[in-house]
Amino acid sequence: MSGDPSGAGPSLRLRLPARAENVAVVRQALNGVAEGLALEAFTLTDIKIAVSEACTNVVLHAYPDREGPLLVDAWADGAEELVVVVRDQGSGFTPAARTESAGLGLGLALIASLSKEVQIGSEPGDGTEVKMRFRLDPDREDLELSPL
């Protein structure tokens, strides 16, 4: 499902230990991608919020009993969209994860609200992948009308 970031333009591949303090590192890396794409500040803000939530879900839920990686790939898909994939190699979505944290619901709602499209795939024992597409040049009005 991930797709091949073979297009032109800045792209990103990160592999970090899935720890809370590393989510800020992902946001910093997105600043760099945004500069390369000359994104508007409000576009970057929305991308950072959504991606931060996806990364935080990995930190909280992917590895309940061990350490593991947080994997982030980002690339421009043509001139109009940025694709960001946040993956882990954990145990996949389980019912236990949902009941444990009310916060998980808000994070996913933010991701859905801020991205043009989000696909979530999870195989038991094979990790979870959250693939988000963001418009690079959204109409500002569209953004203001999209609360949760």
């Binding site: 809370a20 989510v23 946001r27 803000t45 931060s52 009310a102 808000l106 609200s113 609360p147 949760l148």
Partner: protein
């Protein structure tokens, strides 16, 4: 990137102002939660000053909402402060998206925020 920190100031009127500098997310949420819990346990009205905050996520919102509920439960004032001219749009944006502005209150000047928390009914 602005340095991340949680600092505490006290107003002349006895309001605790918790200032969040820089980025705040899951990595600082527990520290914020425990700071707010101990202030509320002290019986002090609280203003959370987000004017120097460059980012907050749902974990921080969760901590703020939990503290708001506790404070309300004890009849204590609790408000958030986001500057008019936020250099970083992320804080205002996440409040807008989650529609928390009417819930909180969210003020835009420190003097308004201090007045708001002192105006709330205190004690039982």
């Amino acid at each position: 990137m602005k340095e991340t920190g949680i600092s505490l100031e006290r107003s002349e009127t006895g309001v605790a102002v918790v200032v969040l500098e820089g980025d705040h997310d899951l990595s600082t949420a527990a520290a914020l939660r425990s700071r707010l819990e101990s202030l509320i346990a002290e019986g002090v009205p609280v203003v959370v000053d987000l004017t120097p905050t460059t980012f907050i996520d749902s974990a921080i919102l969760d901590a703020l909402l939990g503290a708001l509920r506790r404070a309300r439960g004890q009849g204590l004032g609790f408000a958030a402060l986001i500057g008019e001219q936020a250099a970083e749009p992320a804080v205002r944006r996440i409040f807008e998206l989650t529609q928390l502005v009417p819930l909180f209150p969210v003020l835009s000047s420190r003097s308004e925020a201090l007045a708001a928390v002192l105006a709330e009914p205190e004690g039982r």
